[in-house]
């Protein structure tokens, strides 16, 4: 723990002195206890297990977030600007607008379930692995 604190501090004094006050803003007791007892975060962060976990998490949530936000915005823009298209009747009185709206409900449910499965299968075991390695 001790040498981690030193590495980060030495590197920073050279790079940028504005760093030190930031460290000291944290209350003295809290800082001391963290440095003494806390896990070695820099080492964990650099470990292949953690990097794998982070990569897997981000490769899922970033594209998925982009996907549902774009899909939502497409829907909103269609509702605002493509009234004729949204008013085309498909089944009885049910038109494209209602179906696309229902589609937002369906896609939300599907993405939620997909993430649950993904997190259970691909994330949680990795989190356990990283935690075990860190001795927590």
């Amino acid at each position: 723990m001790q040498n981690v604190a030193q590495t980060s501090a030495t590197r920073n004094t050279i790079e940028d002195t504005g760093e030190i006050p930031v460290l000291f803003e944290v209350s003295e007791t809290e800082r001391l206890s963290r440095r003494q007892a806390g896990p070695d975060y820099l080492t964990i962060q650099a470990s292949p297990e953690f990097r794998g976990l982070r990569g897997r998490f981000r490769r899922f949530v970033f594209p998925m977030s982009l996907l549902f936000i774009v899909w939502y915005l497409v829907y909103v823009v269609l509702a605002a600007y493509a009234r004729d298209f949204m008013s085309i009747k498909v089944l009885g009185e049910v038109n494209v607008g209602i179906l696309l709206g229902a589609g937002q409900f369906v896609s939300t449910a599907l993405i939620t379930m997909a993430y649950l499965q993904f997190a259970k299968r691909r994330l949680d075991p990795d989190v356990e692995k990283v935690r075990r390695q860190a001795g927590v």
């Binding site: 209350s27 975060y41 964990i44 936000i69 939502y72 009885g92 009185e93 209602i98 989190v127 927590v136």
Partner: protein, 538 residues
């Protein structure tokens, strides 16, 4: 949600069919049961972790239902059903925004903030930044959002009282608003987070049950055919076929269409930045339960908003636009009137009491959040520099809850009947602009620093408030707050379209301009902790 709540929410709608005794009994039963539960839950409530986060002992399912209780306000029930009944399809768009928004919470925010923070949003934002200025900024945006949101809820209470108890005098309503406020403060003081969570769970269960029962009953009347329901609704509405097409309330011109897109953006991005939503994630023991919470909330919200669609079109079909509009509460009376039509005075009593209970619970949740933010961020970490005695901190939180309760009562009495519905839309816009941008940067961008955080929060907050002050909401339109003078120059009613990108830009530029670089040690700690929970104290 409350955006749609027009001035005297519901004022005295359907009073002719309403039975104050049934309404009062149902509502009184709710208050009695919840107060009893809160009292029972209060035994162990002295430590900060107990008061703020209920000792993190709730399960994901309990917290998820409570979250939906915090989220589904009276206005989202009454307002959206009414908007669909009167304006048709456009009301449906609100429901969709409010539901899709939970994906942001699920994928990007819930688990990571659970692992990183302890009690408040400030914990996450200040994690690797200069503690005092960032906590001050986080507390400012939390208090602004809570106050806006709370005022909008309180203002609606007056109208509901008229409906429930048939009290129309201003003094009588003021008295009841004060009583409502006191009950709510009692919830928070006695029960802390644990008590308010139970209140939310009870309220959410009743609300969703009432809505589902109404929907099933209604749907049955139309032979479980959505097409029959829609054609009957369109037939009965002066809008005709246009009722089931988009554009009913936002289709007038290009400006209103743009306004709609702006609102839609604020809704979908605002939810995950609402401080009272974020704070709920700390009531569960770990990230997995936080994930489960969001899934449960999504399920509740999903069912609820599908039902409001049926209830809205059902009200158009069975009650009719004319009767809804001529009722004193205007479009907000659609759901209560429908209840009267299909279930008589008893069902109306239940629906009205549920709506009232909803206001009470939402305000209690907001008071809890605001008092926690003041006591934990401002008092303990800014005034006492993190060395506050936990006992004192909780005492300050309780005191703040009383002060906020008084403010809400006074504000509610003053705002009774005013058109302040825009405050909730504004709260969502501030949450999306000031909070979400900085949270995401803080969690995902290594270089993000203190300057960027401050610029992002204050930039988004100030942009929202300034744009609303100079928008048609405040002056220059027929339904503005100030009618005498016209000083508006911003054309949109909702600032989201401008303020949300603006805050992201502010956070980005601030980071590049700022002198203090990001602390790599703290960044590592935050990243590891947010993803794995290592080091997060339970």
């Amino acid at each position: 949600m409350p955006h749609l709540t027009s001035p005297a929410v519901l004022a005295a709608s359907a009073t002719d069919g309403s039975n104050p005794i049934i309404n009062t009994v149902v509502f009184g039963a709710f208050v009695a049961v919840t107060l009893f539960v809160v009292y029972r839950a209060s035994s162990r409530n002295s430590s900060a972790a107990d008061y703020y986060a209920a000792g993190s002992a709730f399960t994901g399912r309990q917290n998820g239902i409570a979250l939906s209780g915090d989220y589904l306000s009276a206005a989202s029930f009454l307002g959206i059903a009414g908007a669909i009944a009167v304006h048709g399809y456009d009301g449906f768009l609100y429901s969709i925004g409010f539901m899709v928004a939970w994906l942001v919470a699920l994928l990007l925010v819930a688990e990571l903030t659970r692992n990183t923070g302890r009690f408040t949003m400030g914990d996450v934002l200040a994690f690797r930044m200069k503690v005092r200025p960032v906590r001050a900024a986080a507390a400012t945006s939390t208090l602004v959002i809570s106050l806006f949101y709370m005022l909008a809820q309180m203002a609606g209470a007056g109208g509901l009282i008229a409906l429930l108890l048939n009290i129309h005098s201003n003094f009588g309503q003021a008295l009841i608003i004060a009583v409502v406020g006191l009950i709510m403060v009692l919830y928070v003081l006695v029960g802390g987070m644990k008590g308010t969570t139970y209140v939310q769970i009870i309220k959410a269960s009743i609300l969703i049950m009432a809505v589902v029962l109404m929907t099933v009953f209604l749907f049955g009347k139309f032979g479980f055919s959505i097409s029959n329901l829609l054609s009957q609704a369109a037939y009965n509405s002066p809008m005709g076929e246009k009722l089931i097409q988009p554009g009913g309330s936002y289709g007038a011109n290009n400006l209103t269409k743009l306004d709609f897109v702006s609102l839609a953006l604020a809704l979908v991005l605002g939810t995950a930045g609402l401080p009272h939503v974020l704070m709920r994630f700390y009531t569960v023991p770990n990230a997995r339960e936080a994930r489960r919470s969001v899934v449960w909330t999504t399920a509740c919200v999903f069912v609820f908003y599908l039902c409001t669609l049926i209830i809205g079109f059902g009200a158009a079909a069975l009650v009719g636009t004319k009767e809804i509009k001529s009722a004193p509460g205007g479009e907000n009376s659609a759901a209560p009137l429908l209840a009267l039509h299909i279930g008589g005075t008893v069902l109306l009593g239940v629906v009205a009491a549920v709506a009232f209970a909803t206001i009470l619970a939402v305000i209690a949740g907001l008071t809890m959040t605001a008092s926690a933010s003041f006591a934990h961020d401002v008092y303990a970490n800014i005034f006492k520099r993190g060395k506050a005695d936990p006992y004192d901190e909780v005492r300050v939180a309780r005191l703040t809850a009383v002060v906020i309760g008084l403010l809400a009562i006074i504000g509610g009495i003053l705002a009774n009947g005013q058109n302040i519905a825009f405050l909730v839309a504004l709260a969502f816009a501030v949450a999306a602009s000031a909070n979400l941008s900085t949270l995401l940067y803080s969690l995902f961008w290594k270089r993000f620093n203190t300057t960027g955080t401050l610029w992002g929060i204050y930039g988004g907050l100030i942009a929202c408030v300034v744009l609303v002050v100079f928008s048609p909401v405040v002056s220059g339109a027929s339904d503005s707050i100030i009618k005498a003078v016209d000083f508006h120059w911003f054309p949109l009613k909702n600032p989201g379209l401008v303020s949300i990108p603006f805050s992201f830009v502010c956070g980005f530029v601030g980071t590049l301009v700022g002198k203090g670089k990001a602390d790599p040690y703290k960044q590592a700690e935050m990243e590891v902790r947010s993803l794995t929970g290592i080091g997060s104290r339970i």
